[in-house]
C-alpha cells in the first residue's frame, strides 16, 4: 500500500481500492496525509519504547548515585582519539576542577571506550527475569552522562528513561480508567434517561465542580508514608482518573441519548436483547471515534498533572524518578543557570504533550466523517 501512494502510475488502482475500504482504513489513509500527526505518532512510539525498555537503553539504574559527581556536566562523546585518529566512540574521564561551582573538565589521559551490549547495573524485568545487559556503557571508574547528572550524581539520561515509565504511562493508564468509568456511566445515564439520568448527571456535575488540583493535593497528602513506589504511582493514577471521568461521561450521555432513538436500537430491543448488551454492543461502539479523539487529547492533561504534583513534592517521591520530580531540581534560578541540563525533563514533557496534541488533531480529522478526503 505504501508503494501505491508513492507511485503515481498506479494511482487508479489506489482509487479503486478505496471504494471497498472499511471506515478504519479510510481513517488511516487520511491520518497518513497529516504530516504533523505522523511525526507526533513516531515520536510517541520512540518515547514509549524508550521508557518500556528503560532497563536496556539506560546505562545506569535510576537509583545509582555517585556522591563525588554532583551536577556532573554532560560527557561529550568523541570519535577522534587524542592522537587525531578516527576510532570507536569514547568518553574522557572527568575531574572536578572547581568544587564550589561543580565544574568538571575532561582528563585527556583517561579514555573510556563506549561498549555496546555491555553488562551494567542489574535489573528485574517485571520482577521475574534478572538481567544486566544494557545497550551501552563505559567501564568503571569512567562514567557516561549523556545529559549530565543531578545533585546526587545520578545519570539524567537513565532517569529520563525510567521516569518516562511513570510520566508517560500515568496518562495511558489514567485515561483507560477514566474512559471506562465515563463510558459506562454516560451510557447508562443516557440510555435510561428520566430520573436516573437526572440523578447521575447531577452527581457528575458535583464531581466536575470540585477544584481538581486542590483535591489532588489533599488526596495525595493523605497517602500513607512507606507506600511502595509502584503502589503510590497507581494511587496517583486513580486519583487523577477519579477527577477526569465526569466531563467525558457527560458528553457520552449526550451522544447515547440521541443514538438510543435510532431505529436499530429499537430493533435490538424488539428482538429481545438485554439492556447491558444493547448499551455495550449497539450504542457505545457508535461513540468510539469521539472517545478515541478525546482520549488522545486528554492524555497530556494527565501527564501535566503528574508533573505538577511531583514538582511540588506530593506526586512520585524521590528517589524514584518521574519527569516532574526531576524538574523540581531546576526550580532555582541559581542551579538552573549553572546546570542547564536539569531542564531536559521539562523539554521531554513539552515534546510529549506537543506530540499527543498533533497526533490527537490528526486522529480527529481522520475520524470525522464529514471531512473531505
Amino acid at each position: 500500500m505504501a508503494k501505491n501512494t508513492t507511485n503515481p502510475l498506479q494511482g487508479t488502482a489506489y482509487e479503486n481500492e478505496g471504494a471497498i475500504r472499511s471506515p478504519w482504513k479510510m481513517a488511516w489513509r487520511k491520518l497518513r496525509r497529516h504530516k504533523l500527526a505522523i511525526i507526533g505518532m513516531w515520536v510517541l512510539i520512540v518515547l514509549h519504547l524508550f521508557a518500556i525498555f528503560a532497563d536496556f537503553f539506560a546505562p545506569y539504574s535510576e537509583l545509582t548515585t555517585d556522591r563525588r559527581r554532583t551536577y556532573h556536566a554532560p560527557t561529550r562523546v568523541h570519535i577522534i582519539s587524542p592522537e587525531g585518529k578516527l576510532t570507536r566512540p569514547f568518553v574522557y574521564g572527568y575531574n572536578r576542577v572547581d568544587s564550589l561551582r561543580n565544574r568538571y573538565e575532561p582528563d585527556k589521559s583517561k579514555v573510556y571506550p563506549i561498549r555496546f551490549f555491555t553488562r551494567g547495573d542489574e535489573y528485574n524485568v517485571l520482577g521475574l527475569v534478572k538481567g544486566n545487559i544494557r545497550l551501552f556503557g563505559v567501564d568503571a571508574p569512567g562514567k557516561i552522562y549523556l545529559f549530565g547528572a543531578d545533585m546526587y550524581g545520578r545519570d539524567i539520561f537513565s532517569r529520563l528513561a525510567y521516569g518516562g515509565r511513570r510520566s508517560l504511562f500515568i496518562g495511558i493508564i489514567g485515561i483507560a480508567v477514566s474512559l471506562s468509568i465515563g463510558m459506562v456511566y454516560g451510557g447508562v445515564s443516557g440510555y435510561f434517561g428520566g430520573w436516573v439520568d437526572n440523578l447521575m448527571m447531577r452527581i457528575a456535575e458535583i464531581v466536575i465542580s470540585i477544584p481538581s488540583f486542590y483535591l489532588l493535593l489533599a488526596l495525595s497528602a493523605v497517602l500513607p508514608l512507606g507506600l511502595r513506589s509502584d503502589i503510590r504511582f497507581l494511587m496517583i493514577v486513580f486519583i487523577l482518573a477519579f477527577i477526569g471521568w465526569a466531563g467525558l461521561a457527560r458528553v457520552i450521555r449526550g451522544m447515547v441519548l440521541s443514538i438510543s432513538k435510532m431505529e436499530y436500537v429499537a430493533g435490538a430491543e424488539a428482538i429481545g436483547c438485554s439492556q447491558p448488551r444493547i448499551i455495550i454492543r449497539h450504542i457505545l461502539p457508535n461513540t468510539t471515534s469521539y472517545v478515541i479523539v478525546n482520549a488522545t487529547l486528554s492524555i497530556p492533561g494527565f501527564i501535566l498533572s503528574e508533573s505538577g504534583l511531583s514538582l511540588i513534592g506530593v506526586g512520585i517521591q524521590h528517589p524514584v524518578a518521574s519527569w516532574g520530580n526531576m524538574l523540581s531540581e531546576a526550580l532555582k534560578i541559581s542551579s538552573l543557570s549553572r546546570y542547564p541540563w536539569l531542564l531536559v525533563p521539562g523539554f521531554m514533557i513539552f515534546i510529549t504533550v506537543l506530540s499527543f496534541n498533533f497526533f490527537g488533531d490528526g486522529i480527529r480529522d481522520a475520524l470525522d466523517p464529514r471531512a473531505q478526503i
Binding site: 564550589l100 561551582r101 546526587y152 512507606g226 511540588i312
Partner: protein, 575 residues
C-alpha cells in the same frame, strides 16, 4: 515692688538653671568606641536599605513578638537593661548605667541611665522597668521572654528603690539570668492602662499608627506597608555618642524591604537595591562570580548559630514496639550516626563551605565549645559492624533484623523547601538501604511536622533544625528532660534514662555556677554525655557570608550573631 522683681528674677533663674542642669547633668550618655568597633568616625545622613526576609512583622509589640520577622524590627525600636557585646558576648549595661550582682548571686541592682527619653519625649524611669516585668511575668500576655526569666518556675522579685534604681531578688543563684534579663522595656505611660484592663496583648499590632509605637532605641518606626516595606527613622535624642562626642546614629533611615522569594531578592541586590545582603548557601557561587566586577565585597561572618539534625523518637506510648526498642538502644543510634555522610551533605548543600557539627553548643560560642568529643565519622563498614555487634543482623536476603526477627524499617519526615534537610534525608535513606534498613523518607508540610513533634508525638524520625542562642542555657527547653523541645521524649516527669538524669543535674549545676570557667567545665561534661548517647544526629553547619556594598563604612558582621544589625548605630555611608 523691688522685692517682687527680686522674687521673679530668682524664680526665672531657678527655672532656667534647672533646665540647663537637666540638659547637661541629668543625661548619662553612653560613649561607643566607634574606632574600636568600626574603623572611622562617620558622617551623618543617608538611608540604609536591607533585605529583611520574606515577610514583615506580625506585631510591633515586643512582648507579643514570637517570630524573627517581628523581633527583627522590635529589637531595634526597644532596648533592655543590658545587652550583649557584639563581639565578646559579654553582658554590658544598656538602659542601665551599671549593675551589681551581690556576692551570693541572689541580688542584682540596676542603676538606670538618667535622662533617657522615650520617642515621644517622656523620660524613662524605674516605673517603666517595674511595669515591663509585670507584663513579662503575666501569663496572659504570653511574652516570649517569660520562660527565660523564671527560675525553677518561680519569678524573680523586683522593686523600685528610687526613680533610677531597681533591685531584683532571685530565688537562688542563676548565672544565665543576665542573658535573659535584658528583655525589651516598654513604656508604662502608654501601655500601663491597657495592661490594667487586661488588653495588653491587643496593643501595638501592625495596624497601630506608627507614632504610637514608642521605644527608647536609636530607631523609631517611620512607616510600614505590610509585607512590602518598613522604614525606621533615626531617633534624634538617642543617648549614644561616638569617640568625638557626635550623637549616634549616623544614618537617618533604615529601609526594610521584603521579598517572598530568595532568587528575586538576590537579583534585587545585584541591581543595587540593598546595601548589604546575607548570602544563601546555594547562591554563593553566583555571588563569588559577580564579586570582582561589582561595587560590593563578600565578607565571611562565621558559622551559622543554628543546628540541623536527625532525631529518632524515643517516646514510649507514642512509638510502637519494636521501633521503640531500636530507637532507645544507644548502640543502635551510635551505629546509625556512622551512616550520616556529613562530608557529602556539606558538599551538596553548601558547596563545601561549612563545618561538621558535633556538639549541641552554638559554634560561635567558642568558650563553651568542646573540641575533643567522641565523633562518628561516616563509615558504612563501621556502622555495619556496630549493628552486627549489637544484635541487628543482616540476613542473606539483604534485610537487617533485630534479635526477635523484626525487619528494621521506619519513617523519616521533614518539610520541603529546606535543601539541606532533603539532602540529609535522601542520603540517609540510601545509606541505611545499603545497611539493610528500609527508611521511608518523605517531605510533608512544615506545620504538620511541627504538630507531630510538639503535639501528637506520633513519628519515627524527623530531620529538623533549631536556631541557636549565644549562651548555651538557651537550650533549656531542649536538654532538660522536662523540656517541651526535648524532642525525642518531651515533658518527662522524671528522667527516663540515667544519662538524661545526669544532663538534668549538670544543667541545674551550670545555672548555679557563677564563675564562667566552672560553668564551662560543666558544659564540657554535658557535651561528652550527649556525644556518647547521640539523641540527635548532628549534621553540618554552614559558613555564613554577607555581601556588603563598598560605600558602607564601619560595617563589620558581629561575632555573636554574624549580622550587621548590631552595627546600625555607627554604620555610615561614604558616597
Amino acid at each position: 515692688m523691688r522685692r517682687q522683681i527680686f522674687m521673679w528674677t530668682l524664680l526665672v533663674t531657678l527655672v532656667v538653671g534647672t533646665g540647663f542642669a537637666g540638659a547637661f547633668e541629668l543625661l548619662d550618655p553612653r560613649e561607643v568606641d566607634v574606632l574600636e568597633l568600626g574603623d572611622s568616625i562617620g558622617q551623618y545622613g543617608g538611608a540604609l536599605s536591607i533585605h529583611a526576609g520574606a515577610s514583615g512583622p506580625k506585631t510591633l509589640n515586643p512582648h507579643r513578638a514570637a517570630e524573627t520577622s517581628s523581633t527583627d524590627v522590635t529589637s531595634h525600636i526597644f532596648e533592655g537593661l543590658v545587652a550583649l557585646h557584639r563581639d565578646t558576648g559579654e553582658v554590658l549595661p544598656q538602659l542601665a548605667r551599671e549593675y551589681e550582682i551581690s556576692e551570693d548571686g541572689t541580688e542584682v541592682l540596676f542603676k538606670l541611665r538618667r535622662g533617657v527619653k522615650w520617642h515621644d519625649g517622656v523620660e524613662f524611669t524605674a516605673d517603666d522597668v517595674i511595669f515591663t516585668f509585670d507584663v513579662v511575668y503575666d501569663p496572659d500576655v504570653g511574652s516570649n521572654s517569660r520562660a527565660g526569666l523564671l527560675i525553677d518556675g518561680q519569678p524573680m522579685e523586683y522593686e523600685k528603690i528610687d526613680k533610677y534604681t531597681v533591685k531584683f531578688t532571685l530565688p537562688r543563684p542563676h548565672a544565665p539570668i543576665m542573658y535573659s534579663i535584658g528583655t525589651d522595656i516598654v513604656p508604662v505611660h502608654l501601655l500601663g492602662e491597657a495592661h490594667k484592663e487586661g488588653r495588653y496583648h491587643e496593643m501595638w499590632g501592625i495596624d497601630t499608627p506608627v507614632d504610637e509605637i514608642v521605644g527608647t532605641g536609636a530607631w523609631r518606626l517611620g512607616s510600614y506597608r505590610i509585607d512590602q516595606e518598613l522604614i525606621l527613622v533615626k531617633f534624634d535624642d538617642y543617648y549614644e555618642f561616638d569617640n568625638e562626642g557626635n550623637r549616634l546614629p549616623y544614618v537617618s533611615r533604615i529601609i526594610y524591604r521584603y521579598y517572598p522569594d530568595s532568587d528575586s531578592a538576590n537579583l534585587a541586590f545585584f541591581h543595587g537595591e540593598f546595601d548589604y545582603k546575607g548570602i544563601p548557601a546555594d547562591a554563593y557561587p553566583e555571588f563569588v562570580d559577580r564579586e570582582p566586577v561589582s561595587p560590593w565585597s563578600i565578607v565571611d561572618s562565621g558559622p551559622d548559630p543554628g543546628t540541623s539534625f536527625i532525631v529518632l523518637n524515643q517516646n514510649p506510648g507514642f512509638v510502637p514496639e519494636p521501633k521503640l526498642s531500636w530507637f532507645t538502644d544507644v548502640k543502635f543510634r551510635q551505629a546509625l550516626y556512622h551512616a550520616v555522610d556529613k562530608e557529602t551533605i556539606l558538599d551538596m548543600a553548601m558547596n563545601g563551605r561549612g563545618f561538621i557539627q558535633e556538639s549541641p553548643i552554638n559554634m560561635r560560642n567558642e568558650f563553651f565549645l568542646k573540641e575533643d568529643l567522641v565523633t562518628y565519622p561516616y563509615d558504612l563498614e563501621v556502622a555495619h559492624e556496630k549493628l552486627e555487634a549489637a544484635g541487628y543482623k543482616l540476613g542473606a536476603d539483604g534485610v537487617r533484623r533485630d534479635q526477635d526477627g523484626n525487619a528494621i524499617e521506619f519513617d523519616l519526615i521533614t518539610n520541603p523547601g529546606v535543601p539541606i534537610r532533603q539532602i540529609v534525608g535522601e542520603l540517609f535513606q540510601e545509606d541505611l538501604g545499603e545497611l539493610g534498613i528500609k527508611v521511608n523518607f518523605q517531605m510533608i508540610d512544615f506545620n504538620v511536622v511541627v504538630e507531630k513533634l510538639t503535639d501528637t508525638f506520633e513519628w519515627d524520625g524527623i530531620i529538623i533544625g533549631l536556631t541557636g542562642t549565644f549562651d548555651p542555657n538557651g537550650g533549656s527547653n531542649v536538654w532538660l528532660s522536662s523540656g517541651n523541645l526535648h524532642m525525642w521524649h518531651p515533658f518527662q516527669e522524671t528522667p527516663a534514662t540515667e544519662w538524661e538524669a545526669k544532663v538534668d543535674e549538670l544543667w541545674f549545676a551550670q545555672q548555679r555556677a557563677m564563675v564562667p570557667e566552672d560553668r564551662r567545665d560543666i558544659f564540657f561534661e554535658y557535651q561528652d554525655i550527649v556525644a556518647e548517647n547521640v539523641p540527635l544526629f548532628y549534621t553540618v553547619n554552614s559558613m555564613t557570608s554577607i555581601a556588603i556594598r563598598d560605600h558602607l563604612r564601619n560595617a563589620r558582621p558581629d561575632i555573636v550573631g554574624g549580622g550587621l544589625g548590631s552595627a546600625w548605630n555607627f554604620i555610615w555611608l561614604d558616597r
